[in-house]
Symmetry: C2
Subunit: 152 residues, 2 copies
């Protein structure tokens, strides 16, 4: 099944923006992500509406982070990209007449709901600042081994 990678993509993008520290254009971000500028704008739209980033048209324009990274959690990002359906597995029929299927759905829904709550909770407990710190650790370790590129 084709998996939705917007959350992954947007986290990647916003951390790059944080490293850069000044406005970045959709074109630049698209280059980071090996994708298209329009795709970047489309995905970033949610973050802009939620107030996590701002965008500016014209010369010197582009995208800027509007909040402290410590105040943005992965859950915020998940919500900002539209809180897409988390599971690839689903019920055959959502509101079945069949009592057999009702029993099946309840059993599966229970398991999935619990797991979703767990994920949401975990995403809520990690801030972008935490992720950035993790990256800096990796970068330091990487540099020690003689390799210094961290682009894309």
């Amino acid at each position: 099944m084709k998996r939705n990678s917007r959350l992954s993509a947007i986290l990647h993008v916003i951390l790059h923006m944080a490293e850069r520290g000044k406005a970045m254009t959709s074109e630049e971000l698209a280059l980071c992500m090996q994708t298209n500028a329009v795709v970047v704008r489309r995905t970033m739209a949610g973050l802009r509406e939620a107030g996590f980033v701002t965008s500016q048209k014209g010369h010197g324009g582009g995208w800027v982070i509007a909040r402290d990274l410590r105040d943005i959690t992965l859950r915020d990002m998940y919500d900002a990209v539209g809180a897409p359906e988390m599971f690839a597995l689903g019920n055959r029929t959502e509101t079945p007449q069949c009592l057999v299927e009702q029993a099946v759905n309840q059993a599966l829904d229970g398991a999935f709901a619990e797991a979703e709550a767990l994920i949401i909770e975990r995403l809520g407990s990690v801030s972008l600042a935490d992720l950035a710190a993790d990256f800096h650790r990796r970068f330091a370790a990487h540099a020690q081994h003689g390799n210094s590129h961290h682009a894309t």
Copy 2:
């Protein structure tokens, strides 16, 4: 995203088979599931290979459950349908060069892996007999309210 409903479907089917108590043809099962007999055979193939059901060609043939329902868990069924990918969310790149993306992937993978383990554990703790019992409770409650059909 289009969700994979094979686990849901196969549970529905096998509980109907348990209720019936004798061989059921793919055609009959397809009717229960409002789908096609070929789809039923395709999905049941995994269960047959795993030894949970047997199939017989010719007159009086069809599908029969080969084990005690108490000895089959929902996890067995999940594995038997090929243990399909559970999550609709995924990483943009699975083994990225970019250190930023490595940090992102690890954060997301951790959350998802934990949730997947939780689901697997829950599926393993529920047997088909449990599901059947749940259905019987529903059926009894339903019958009390004057409605007696439970088909499909």
